[in-house]
């Protein structure tokens, strides 16, 4: 079988054009935001960055996971998350403004300000005790470490999966991936958990939650699945991804359903224990978010991130219906944005201030992301054509 290159299709052309428009509007907006208020710019930047960095890293994890469990059903659609993973270089470069802020401007992370450690009006006893972990040097080392882990995953697993396209007799790349995937899934779990702690949880350095890592993962995973679902539906509709059947929709829909429930379970467990324990150092996170108008966003999440996808994806017919899948997928992607805003922004303002800066930041990163996807599709086959499980995936019956 020959590589399936869809570069000349109208889908890729349109993706490229719209992503360039989004990138243009987004970067112009971000430039204005940066000139007006550096702090607000960085908050918005962090939301957009985390949104697409999360999708990229989790997409790599998803592909790795398929190798780890020798999944047959997904061989036909696995190339889509692998192409998402091509955004990784920008994820790594995108860390630079965050690191720069930690060293120079101290607008995002309160703990990065050296004044909190020195005796004086800004002295913070708790942060002085946490200084061994929360300091610019160790923070930078940790980010470099995550970058190294993710880069290695990309080089050793994703690129290796592309290599399999070249031969249909020699299955060494796939065999290697099956072996390599196990340690990389472990490394992924650790790196994403600690990246969540460092980049997001430490925005409120007094607060801590041991569940935060898995909470962060759950939100990212369900949105990655939604994006995969949307791509699968659109590509099939355009006739670019042949062989996809309702059975694949059904399996991805089941995945989305399961991880919607997983997200709710984790989110509620975190909230529940803190609510019940009612200890000041833990409760402050929810005190900021359950009062004032932030609480409406919280109720919105219960309704929008759980009840809507749960009820819609509950029935078999809806999971197999491409229209419903695209609608629920887009809705989940929107709710994931709200979720990140709900986690990140209340650290900076006691009242609701979801602004245009956050939207343009999302637009800028979305533009970059989909532009990278379109660029990848210029040369990469959209199907892992020589995957030994491809036949099984084509004959999938769930």
């Amino acid at each position: 079988m020959n590589a399936v290159i869809i570069a000349s299709s109208s889908f890729v052309q349109k993706l490229r054009m719209y992503s360039m428009i989004a990138l243009g509007i987004g970067s112009a907006g971000m430039a204005v935001a940066a000139l007006l208020d550096t702090g607000r710019f960085l908050q918005a930047y962090l939301i957009g960055y985390i949104y697409f960095a999360g999708i990229t890293v989790v997409a790599m994890f998803f592909a790795t996971l398929q190798f780890l469990v020798n999944a047959g059903w997904s061989a036909l659609v696995r190339r889509i998350p692998e192409i998402f993973a091509g955004f990784l270089p920008i994820v790594l470069v995108g860390m630079i403004p965050i690191v720069a802020d930690v060293w120079i401007t101290h607008k995002l992370y309160h703990w990065a300000d050296p004044h909190v450690y020195e005796p004086g009006p800004h002295f913070d006893e708790i942060l002085a005790l946490k200084r061994g972990y929360l300091n610019p040097i160790f923070f930078t080392i940790r980010l470099v470490l995550y970058a190294a882990i993710w880069f290695a995953t990309y080089r050793l697993i994703i690129v290796n999966s592309f290599k399999q396209d070249e031969s249909n007799t020699d299955y060494t790349p796939t065999r290697l991936n099956m072996k390599r995937s196990a340690p990389f899934v472990l490394l992924f779990a650790l790196s994403l958990t600690f990246a969540g702690f460092d980049l997001v949880m430490s925005l409120d350095p007094h607060w801590f939650s041991t569940m935060f890592g898995v909470y962060f993962f759950a939100g990212n995973f369900v949105s990655t699945l939604s994006l995969i679902a949307i791509f699968v539906v659109v590509l099939r509709k355009q006739g670019l991804l042949k062989g996809v059947t309702d059975e694949h929709y059904h399996d991805i829909g089941k995945f989305m359903f399961a991880f919607t429930v997983f997200w709710t379970y984790i989110t509620f467990s975190q909230y529940f224990l803190i609510w019940y324990g009612n200890l000041p150092e833990e409760a402050l996170f929810f005190i900021a978010r359950a009062h004032g108008n932030w609480q409406f966003l919280g109720y919105g999440l219960v309704f929008g991130h759980f009840i809507v996808p749960f009820v819609t994806l509950l029935t078999q017919n809806n999971k197999r219906n491409p229209k419903v899948l695209v609608m629920v997928g887009s809705w989940i992607l929107f709710m994931h944005f709200i979720d990140l805003a709900f986690i990140i922004l209340p650290n900076f303002s006691p009242t609701l201030h979801l602004g245009w800066q956050d939207m343009v930041s999302w637009l800028m990163f979305a533009g970059l992301f989909f532009f990278t996807v379109a660029r990848q599709l210029q040369t990469r086959s959209i199907v892992a054509i020589n995957d030994p499980y491809l036949k099984e995936s084509l004959e999938l019956v769930s």
């Binding site: 509620f268 909230y271 529940f272 609510w275 019940y276 009612n278 029935t315 019956v397």
Partner: protein, 187 residues
């Protein structure tokens, strides 16, 4: 063992060894308009129900009803005990709050859904427990628990005649097509 005596014709049976031929045979029997036929297999054969034209199960509706009932019970239980009948102030928490109610809501919803599904599926939809089958003396039918796919065209189907059923099964490639009589046990 009690003495056995033959009664009326209750079915025509045929055996298959190959699951793919079994599925195409099931399709043909369904297409021929038979509604009262069944296939006994030693393990679940993927796609067989679809080929046989078995209608979608009504189990999800029962599951939903059971789940909502459980949710309601959990709410009533916690509200009544907490806020009406045994008011206890524990650590300054409200007498009833949805926050602490959730685990019980969840557990009772799952429990009631599970029990409903179990009893409705086995007891109501499948009429179990059932200690015997009227086909149990047939050797091919017994082998369906081991290495045989056994197709049974039941005599109470409106289209059923012994000749037609035999002819259909032979044409579909069934082995050992046989007419099965009711077995009457004499004490």
């Amino acid at each position: 063992m009690p003495a056995l005596e033959k009664g009326d014709v209750i079915a025509v049976m045929g055996d298959f060894k190959d699951p793919n031929r079994l599925i195409s045979a099931a399709k043909s029997i369904h297409a021929a308009g038979y509604t009262k036929f069944d296939i006994y297999t030693p393990y679940p054969v993927h796609g067989l129900e679809k080929a046989m034209g078995v209608p979608k199960t009504s189990l999800p509706k029962f599951a939903l009803a059971g789940g909502l009932f459980g949710l309601l019970c959990a709410f009533a239980l916690q509200y009544w005990t907490g806020a009406i009948e045994y008011k206890l102030n524990i650590g300054g928490k409200p007498l009833f709050a949805p926050q602490f109610g959730v685990p019980v809501f969840f557990e009772l919803t799952v429990l009631c859904t599970g029990l409903t599904v179990f009893f409705v599926m086995f007891g109501y939809l499948n009429r179990l427990p059932n200690w015997h089958s009227k086909y149990q003396y047939d050797e091919g039918f017994q082998a369906a628990t081991d290495d045989n796919f056994c197709v049974v065209l039941e005599a109470n189907d409106p289209r059923f005649t012994v000749e037609n059923a035999q002819e259909l099964l032979r044409r579909l490639g069934a082995d050992n097509v046989r007419v099965v009589h009711e077995t009457i046990e004499q004490d």
